[in-house]
Amino acid sequence: MRSRRAVIWRWLACAVLLFVVGISLAANFIAPAGYARQYREVADAPPSHQHWLGTDEIGRDRFARVLYGTRISLLLAPAAALLSTLVAALVGGLAGYLGGGWARAAMAVTDLFLSLPWLFLLITVRAVMPLNVSPLVSVMVTFVMLGLLGWTSAARVLCATASSLRGSDFVRQAKASGIRGVRLFWIHVLPNLRPVLYAQFWISIPVFILSEANLGILGLGVAEPLPSWGSLLQELEGLVSVGSEPWKFVPLLLLAVVVTAFQFVLSNQEELAA
């Protein structure tokens, strides 16, 4: 039974997400300047009437960069999270459902995936891409790679969950009723994997946003002058001086609010399903 408070949280969360998406789409109208324009006379400036969140180290308006960066990150990170969740469901969920040798083989592959230094695959991907690739293509490739590599943790948990479900009463009952194979997995097993799938999705969004920025050292991720939340959050690494510049924490606050909002929407979906 859904409590009134839970409904209010959900609506609030949806409103927050819609607001953030809305302002990012309206960045062209809201932002005082383009995200790339360099106001070199006022580089690394504090907030002012002209630059509401100040400027970055080379004079670009931070508020504009937060707005435009939201577009990139808010669109691509959840998409990559969805991809990793689907792959985890496929590998882990199916392996647990099938059990036996399938599960053992799938989990051995998963453990291997967890241990390998994928850094080198990503370096190779960058090498294969042309140097003059557009920043948007570069960031899309990055998020696809993250989605394809980020499923391993959840796959293990999904396998354990699906294994538990194999012996449950309702699954036995379904089998006794003649439901088998893909239909059994799709209708009876997969919905019960939702808690882990939602957790995986929710965790992956900020993790991928941050990973995209870290992959900048390999030439992947967003390329200058395009902003992303990850690249904006990297400003916090100058923490020693950032402490006296609290406006630099705005991207962190925004991301935390969005991630929390996602969780409220997802948890409410779970209640609805129950």
């Binding site: 453990d111 241990s115 882990v196």
Partner: protein, 290 residues
């Protein structure tokens, strides 16, 4: 009992084979990645052509990666893990010196993160107060949004133990999984029956909810080990701790094949041990339930 022994033996064989395969695959990945054959010293304008050629020839043994890996396994069987190309020291010495520090950091970090995550998850599951839920969600979400490097810097700034930085990186992941699994356990019909029969909330939590979620929680525990090992890399690098994490990062950037292959074998072994252990215990628990 016989079934358990068979399972342990199967796990052991799979572990060894997977570890060796992991070492080979990491060597192949590194060999194929650009920058393998290079050395930063080549750019030194003081070096003449002959010296640069010698630098380039230093890695010729590694060109045929399969032969190289086979020979390095042979040497490893005699206790010789090779010499690090970037640090010029025996790999075995480097690992012996640095592994204890990382083990300590990762172990403490995991203990801390699990303690806090389970405390929050259990209390949230038990209390079922939406404001408390919102707060813990926001807290764990914020920690997820902080780059690992920033958490490590905070540890330095506030003179916190490095294990705490690792714990803060791992905690939100464990919390979310645990929270959702406990929620799911609570939605089972037997919980409703227990409540209808007047069973207290604490008893329901520890006797009826946790046991249902236990196999999955164990799987999360196994996975959290590799998350913690990954978290050790930025924490050690920034906090100036000479551990395996810092070594791994240096080795990757320098394309140090002998060092990185051995490190991958070590990490693969640790990951597999953790996950296999979780699998075996999970199997035992499911067997008990049956």
């Amino acid at each position: 009992m016989q079934g358990l022994t068979r399972q342990i033996a199967r796990h052991a064989i799979a572990l060894v084979a997977t570890v060796l395969l992991g070492g080979l695959l990491s060597a192949v990945l590194m060999r194929l990645a650009p920058g393998f054959d290079t050395d930063e010293q080549e750019l030194d304008p003081h070096l003449n052509a002959a010296s640069i050629q010698v630098l380039k020839q230093a890695r010729i043994e590694q060109h045929n990666i399969f032969r190289y890996y086979f020979h390095s396994l042979q040497r490893a069987a005699r206790g010789d893990l090779g010499t690090s190309l970037s640090l010029g020291q025996p790999v075995s010495t480097l690992l012996k010196e640095r592994a204890p520090l990382t083990l300590r950091l990762v172990g403490l970090g995991l203990l801390l993160s699990w303690t806090v995550a389970m405390a929050f998850a259990l209390s949230a599951a038990w209390l079922r107060v939406s404001a408390y839920d919102a707060l813990t969600t926001f807290l764990s979400g914020t920690l997820l949004c902080l780059p690992a490097a920033v958490l490590a810097l905070l540890a330095v700034l506030w003179r916190l133990p490095e294990a705490l930085a690792i714990a803060l990186i791992v905690f939100p992941r464990i919390y979310r999984y645990s929270r959702n699994l406990l929620d799911k356990a609570y939605s089972q019909s037997h919980i409703l029956t227990a409540r209808a029969k007047g069973v207290g909330e604490l008893r329901i939590l520890f006797w009826h909810a946790i046991p249902v979620a236990a196999p999955q929680l164990l799987a999360v525990a196994g996975v959290s080990v590799s998350i913690a090992v990954g978290a050790a890399i930025p924490v050690e690098a920034i906090c100036g701790q000479a551990g395996i994490g810092q070594l791994a990062w240096q080795a990757a950037l320098a394309r140090d094949l002998p060092l990185l292959t051995n490190l991958t074998i070590l990490v693969t072994a640790v990951t597999l041990l953790a996950n296999s252990g979780a699998d075996v215990i999970g199997h035992m628990l499911r067997g008990q339930e049956a």
